[in-house]
Subunit: 409 residues, 2 copies
């Protein structure tokens, strides 16, 4: 790693200096198995000549995931977005679904593909998740379900949401894209609500390059999801109106199986880097690193900082620009909230000024690089950069306000 | 290959004899590259650590397909069904789409996922495709497009459909899942209509285990499809209301690239087996093998027989049952027509008795095994079996009518 220490603000990449890193540092995990292990698994597929359509590796992955998560059924699919859409259809939802606006846009658009409208809920300022209170405030007459999102891997308040769903005769399901390997009250995410849906995209700690799966303890729902995910006659378990191709291929499953083997190791490594970030950033003014309940299982795959511009002297957006200049590709995650994205900002304008916590978090939260591609030295470097920014905030701010001149990325 | 000659009808697997083949003979291509070639391509992905999100291999596949098909844009996706849905959304269709009922159910359900209703058209009894006449007979007021299906790889009558679409202000697109490597008037399928959509499922002559792509000469449509297929910010080319994860991974692209290299060879091999089937079956009474215009490019991936029960002495369904007993997994393709499948049979009952050609073909067409797993000896064996069935039809028919007893598969 070639890094260039910053002594003066003219040294900053943003202001024309050489970037600190010689290559980009990305957010996202990219925890991939060693090539030799993948090769062996993939060669088996070629030997069997069974490449897709619910082959032996997909079935094995479903069994292993079910064991790992302590849930009765796992239904593997080609990605998490389609798994959400398939889950919504299997639940036979109608009308609207209560969903946080502070989430990845796919959580909401997956509902739209299933013909459902969002009822946007605000989130709790501390947990960043929906609560019974925020859902109750948003509820309208035709809400058939709550879709909770376990943001950053921190589980939603499942008990109070379950009570509310029961009280109102609504289904409850979860977008657990962030939350594989996380627990609540000692129970693994995957067993909550009617269905939970996971992503195995390349950037997730458990991944199959592309991939996803749904979990449920309900035999009927599992049958419905297995039927909906494929047009195959052999895979027809129940009568459903619409089916789709959401099949996971054998190659995806091989990668997922190897990733599942590596999951404990990768979570441990994430935890170490996460702890290092917290240690380095905790005493910076205006920086609050999102923490996990260490009595629970956590995957620590997201390093999220709540940046208070008054305390730090620089806004979240300033920090992102300055880091970009050093080839650190931090993210504004999620900006804007789903209620401000098409088509919802036009179709449901009533939410535009109704979700103050979502809007506030959208302005303040920062995601920093963490995962296989990131070393201890990278974290030290990133934190040293941020410290330099904050310590020189008074001199930096007017130069940033002067415009985007001199940027070098 | 262990095969067992049939001397008496008691020798038939259906009636308790040993099956002719010692392992199943499937329809579907499974033309996969040699492991060493795939290994080399896949190892490159691990070296680059670029696994998905429109990586270099997907871009290369898009370029090579565009060259091969002589079309301006190729947009790769995770499978053909989603590519159809994405194409329908990119075309900004509303209301209904005219579509043949005699097609794989995914052609129609892909429209339903895009919020569109089918207007079912009958097909031409000779070409098995829609024509301007069959579409015109079906048209209602709110039809925004025609979706033609190039069934068995035989192109629809593009010119007359284009004229009709222009006349009525409708879009025209094609499900070309069967038709890669096929031409019409010397021009490759891929350049017709507003968009064409291909499948690269494992069972197709060009395949990536799972996969698909859309083709268009229209820059705006290509931009829209590229935007809709992914939630990635970096891949946003235009404003669209809804996006989805329909990304093709790099592993899929590597397999697709190798398959594209092999396509001419695999088409030649299919053509040889196809010719052998035609030669062996042509003089059997009641057997009419679907032929191709040999002045055009053809992939010959489907061996389809129109079985006339009066001539053959046995129905298509009888032949399928008898072949099953010999471990030949022939298919009733497509049975029933899409208009008789859920949800359409309930939502659009007006079509149930309105499509006589579709209903007739659904009862008569038989798909026989062809592809990489099938040898010349297999074809000889399958044709000898069919000849034996037909020659002994008078004795076989009463035994079949006696029920399903004694089956051994």
């Amino acid at each position: 790693m070639t890094t260039r220490a910053k002594r003066r603000i003219d040294d900053l990449g943003r202001f024309g200096g050489d970037p600190f890193f010689d290559s980009p540092r990305h957010v996202g995990q990219l925890n991939f198995p060693e090539w030799d292990r993948f090769r062996a698994g993939m060669q088996g597929i070629f030997d069997r000549r069974f490449f897709t359509n619910h082959g032996p590796k997909v079935r094995e992955l479903e069994e292993r995931l079910a064991d790992h998560l302590g849930v009765r059924h796992v239904v593997c699919m080609t990605n998490g977005t389609l798994a959400l859409t398939v889950a919504a259809r299997a639940l036979e939802l109608t009308g609207s679904v209560a969903v946080p606006a502070f989430t990845f846009i796919a959580s909401v658009q997956a509902l739209s593909w299933a013909g459902l409208d969002p009822v946007f809920c605000d989130v709790d300022p501390v947990t960043h998740n929906i609560s019974a209170r925020t859902v109750r405030e948003a509820l309208t007459g035709d809400v058939s379900a709550i879709l909770g999102v376990h943001l950053w891997g921190r589980p939603c308040p499942v008990d109070e949401l379950s009570a509310l769903a029961s009280e109102r005769g609504m289904k409850l399901f979860f977008d657990a894209a962030h939350a594989v390997g996380c627990s609540l009250g000692g129970r693994m995410v995957g067993g909550f609500g009617d269905v939970e849906v996971f992503s195995m995209h390349a950037t997730k700690v458990l991944n199959s390059a592309e991939g996803g799966f749904a979990t449920t303890d309900d035999d009927g729902l599992a049958d419905a999801m297995r039927t909906i995910r494929s047009f195959h006659r052999d895979e027809k378990f129940t009568e459903v109106p619409l089916r789709i191709n959401a099949k996971m291929s054998e190659a995806q499953a091989v990668m997922g199986l190897l990733s599942l083997e590596d999951l404990p190791r990768n979570c441990r490594r994430n935890a170490e880097l996460h702890a290092l970030y917290r240690e380095r950033l905790c005493c910076l003014p205006g920086f609050d690193v999102v923490a996990f309940d260490e009595r629970e299982a956590n995957n620590h795959q997201y390093l999220i900082v709540d940046v208070d511009a008054d305390g730090a002297g620089l806004s979240r957006n300033d920090i992102v620009l300055l880091l970009e200049g050093e080839r650190v590709l931090a993210r504004r995650y999620f900006t804007p909230g789903a209620h401000r994205c098409p088509p919802y900002r036009d179709d449901f304008p009533q939410y535009l000024d109704a979700l103050p916590v979502t809007d506030r978090l959208s302005e303040r939260l920062l995601q920093l690089p963490l995962g296989e591609g990131i070393t201890v030295a990278d974290v030290e470097g990133i934190c040293a950069l941020i410290r330099f920014f904050v310590e020189n905030a008074a001199a930096i701010r007017p130069r940033l306000e002067g415009g985007h001149r001199g940027a070098k990325a």
